[in-house]
């Protein structure tokens, strides 16, 4: 490997009593994709923040282009061409995509006046280099998660970065978009840019990485070329546990009313004629590209954006659903796509998040004893790792935050649970636990509908997978048809 562009040498970082990083040394060479993998809380994000100058390491150095820094400032890092794309993208939602892409550069360049056309050209060039299509002229807040992600990546491209680190860049992207991203990454590699990738998805790690470094509890466990690992060995290194898989038990549906039955559901122009049935104890997947209508169908069933036509039955009982509150009353739960803005009250206590939907009350007053019992039960049932119940949810890792969200619905003992991207941004260990909880709940009769981009996850979890295209359910795959290639083919056809 030629001389690294960025290198962390013996970096340690302590936060109060927590040792976040212990003597971590990683080098990022030009034209190399280096995947940093590990469970949530293993120190990946801390490492990125040390490299970008956001955190000052307790000991150790960051070496940029041969210059060693004990304490790199964010400004030094930026001017050295270090770009980090965090999970929240750090975009300004009220500005257009073009402005978001072009502005930081012109601000850093000390330009006093802003030229719309120059910004537009700069942004267009970055987007073309990325090989994707983004609406450049509407506010970023109105873009989908995937488009926002791409905007953030385009912004880094526009800055002529020498080192780009991406914190789980593909979580919200569809296969097509991931392919486009990887193609752009390929071009960046040819241009000699060093790339750091934080990812949970095995397939990606193996398809894109030149080098893999595994962190566990803030220390480097192992580092090597991807061909030195297998999926299983990598997962085992990350978690420190043996790999596991589910025993899928066929649901016994005979003679029992379906948990959920949807007939002729429609909302022009998003989707139409949607019929689906989920048996008690059945796990059904809903696959489709972004924009296929899969999220809209789910949101209609749970009343967030109600359908215009069609009927919904829960356990054989027709239930008109015009608001999420109606769905909750009928026993339907919905775990939304965007955990941070839709799912959780980040600054509110963990405990209050757990009981936000199903709030025990007696004669108009909160039943605090029942509330505390519920909180404690969810924390122990879902094995949520937390400091205190009164800590804000913000203090939790992705996996634990998702468990809070899941617990918030399970505590109401729903008949049907609809999950949109339940394991997005969740580490391997937590992912397994979350899927395990769903599996266990389904064995007790819960009907589950999972919307996911993660095909291996759908295949390992679901009894059946329904494929949505242009707002219609076009295929149903089950049994032997339920394979990765068939699902991908059906979705992208």
């Amino acid at each position: 490997m030629s001389a690294p562009i960025v290198e962390a040498v013996g970096v340690s970082k302590r936060f109060g009593g927590v040792q976040a990083l212990t003597d971590v040394s990683v080098a990022f060479g030009p034209g190399e994709v280096h995947c940093i993998v590990g469970e949530n809380g293993c120190g990946k994000s801390t490492l990125l923040k040390v490299i970008s100058g956001a955190y000052r390491p307790t000991s150790g150095q960051v070496v940029v282009d041969g210059t060693a820094y004990d304490h790199l400032t964010p400004r030094q890092a930026l001017s050295a061409g270090i770009e980090v794309i965090y999970q929240d993208f750090s975009l300004m939602p009220n500005l257009t995509a073009a402005e978001n892409i072009a502005l930081p550069g012109s601000v850093a360049g000390g330009r006093r006046l802003y030229s719309r056309t120059a910004a537009r050209t700069l942004a267009e060039r970055a987007v073309v280099r990325l090989g994707v299509e983004i609406e450049l002229d509407i506010p970023v807040g109105e873009l989908t998660v995937a488009e926002r992600q791409l905007t953030a990546i385009a912004r880094a491209l526009a800055h002529e970065a020498k080192f780009i680190a991406m914190d789980e860049p593909t979580t919200a992207l569809t296969w097509k978009e991931v392919d486009a991203l990887f193609a752009a990454v390929g071009r960046l590699k040819e241009a000699g840019v060093a790339l750091a990738f934080i990812s949970h998805k095995m397939q990606e790690i193996f398809s894109i990485a030149e080098r893999v470094t595994v962190l566990r509890n803030g220390a480097v466990v192992t580092s090597g070329r991807p061909d030195e690992f297998t999926h299983a060995s990598l997962a085992e290194t990350m978690t420190g546990r043996g790999s596991q898989s589910f025993d899928r038990v066929a649901p016994r549906n005979k003679g029992r009313a379906p948990a959920l039955k949807v007939t002729g559901l429609g909302r022009a122009p998003l989707f139409a004629d949607v019929d689906l049935e989920i048996g008690q104890g059945e796990i059904v997947g809903l696959a489709g590209l972004l924009g296929s209508g899969r999220t809209e169908i789910a949101e209609a069933i749970c009343g967030v954006k109600p359908a215009q036509t069609g009927t919904i039955e829960v356990l054989g009982r027709p239930t008109p659903i015009n608001a999420l509150a109606d769905a909750v009353a009928a026993g339907i739960g919905y775990v939304p796509e965007d955990r941070l803005t839709q799912g959780l009250f980040l600054d509110q206590p963990i405990g209050d998040n757990i009981v936000a939907t199903h709030l025990p009350a007696r004669r108009g007053f909160l039943n605090s004893r029942a509330i505390e019992r519920r909180k404690a039960r969810v924390v122990s049932d879902l094995r949520i790792k937390l400091g205190k119940l009164t800590d804000p949810v913000r203090s939790l890792s992705g996996g634990n935050a998702q468990r809070v969200l899941l617990g918030k619905w399970l505590v109401g003992e729903p008949k049907v649970l609809i999950l949109n991207g339940p394991t997005v941004g969740v580490d391997v260990g937590s992912k397994f636990d979350i899927l395990g909880v769903l599996n266990a709940q389904s064995l007790q009769g819960l009907g589950v509908l999972i919307i996911s981009d993660d095909v291996p996850e759908l295949i390992s979890m679901c009894h059946r997978v329904l494929v949505v295209r242009s707002g219609r359910i076009v295929r149903e795959l089950s049994g032997d048809q339920l394979r990765e290639d068939t699902v991908v083919a059906a979705v992208t056809a």
Binding site: L324, T341, Q342, G343, Q348, A356, T357, T390
Partner: protein, 331 residues
């Protein structure tokens, strides 16, 4: 029972700002007590504070409630004045007993609050615009109803309310305490209060939690309106008359007090005890300055300075608490 004590503190709001507020209130008493003990610590002066605080505190509670839901009620003083005018008209022109007039006034306040709630909750008008507009509307109605004059000649049985004392404390001070306790119970002990906090913290997540946000907001603004009505009755009982533009500076004062108390204007946090203490501290400061024979304009300057200082302290407080996280007290 330290655990129980901690819980009580939590419902009151043990934020660093709350403790700082207490320190400021005590400091005001100590400083003016030393500077001019004969006037400032006189029973007359303290009674002035007890009589002047309730209307301000109740208006601030209303403001704080809407701020809990990340809103604001700029119309609350207009609601107070409209209610006062309605009550006064019923008592003078209508010759009805004060009890009926007071009921009618609170009824009017509830309707006004409901109008705000419908606009904010169901029509999704930003609270600052909705209540600014309705505030103008309610003021205008009060102006027309009162023909632009001060309605005088209120019966003694009504104005006496401002003079009555119970256990040596003015009745209206008790009314303030009762209002504070009710608001505190609603916020800390009922599903409505819990949901108000969540709606304020993250309206989208509230929607995705099956909380009927519009209903919660409606209830919030109705409560805010009702408090405005109560404040209006106290104001006209104290003033012996009703007027359409009494205490227009109270709107900003109520915002100031809520912020002083540590209520987060971005929603999700409310401290009832803090609001009451902040309201009293403001009146103490005013009374203290007046006891030094300072002009009332200087009082405004000093109240402004106090606010700026407290806001700065709160900002430093967060900065310090990130340096010394162990010392942070969160609610």
């Amino acid at each position: 029972m330290p655990e129980r004590f901690r819980r009580v503190l939590l419902t009151m709001g043990t934020r660093a700002s709350f403790i700082r507020l207490l320190v400021v209130a005590v400091a005001i008493v100590v400083v003016f007590g030393i500077l001019n003990p004969t006037v400032f610590l006189s029973g007359q002066n303290l009674q002035y504070v007890e009589l002047a605080s309730p209307e301000v505190a109740i208006l601030s509670l209303a403001m704080a409630l809407t701020m809990l839901t990340a809103g604001i009620d700029l119309s609350v003083v207009s609601i107070a004045n409209l209610s006062g005018v309605v009550a006064a008209l019923i008592m003078t022109n209508g010759h009805q007993p004060p009890g009926l007039a007071m009921l009618a006034a609170v009824g009017v306040a509830l309707v006004c609050g409901a109008v705000n709630g419908l606009l904010v909750g169901y029509k999704h008008v930003p609270p600052i615009l909705a209540t600014l507009a309705t505030g103008q509307l309610f003021s205008g109605l009060a102006l027309v109803a009162s023909s632009g004059t001060v309605i005088k000649g209120l019966p003694d049985s009504f104005t006496r309310i401002a003079l009555l004392t119970v256990a040596g404390v003015p009745l209206i001070f008790w009314v303030m305490l009762i209002a504070a306790v009710i608001v505190g119970i609603v916020v800390a002990k009922t599903p409505l209060g819990f949901r108000m906090r969540l709606v304020g913290a993250n309206p989208t997540a509230a929607d995705f939690s099956g909380i009927r946000r519009a209903r919660v907001l409606l209830a919030t603004y109705v409560m805010s309106g009702a408090l405005g009505g109560v404040a209006g009755l106290i104001i006209s009982a104290r003033a012996g008359g009703a007027n359409s533009d009494y205490g227009s500076s109270y709107v900003l004062l109520a915002v100031v007090i809520a912020v002083l108390a540590g209520v987060d204007p971005e929603g999700g946090y409310l401290t009832v005890a803090g609001v009451v203490i902040a309201a009293i501290a403001m009146q103490l400061l005013g009374a203290g300055l007046l006891s030094l024979s300072v002009s009332s304009h200087v009082v405004n300057i000093c109240q402004g300075l106090l606010l700026v200082t407290m806001v700065l302290l709160n900002t430093w407080g967060t900065a310090l608490s990130t340096v010394f996280p162990r010392r942070r007290v969160t609610a």
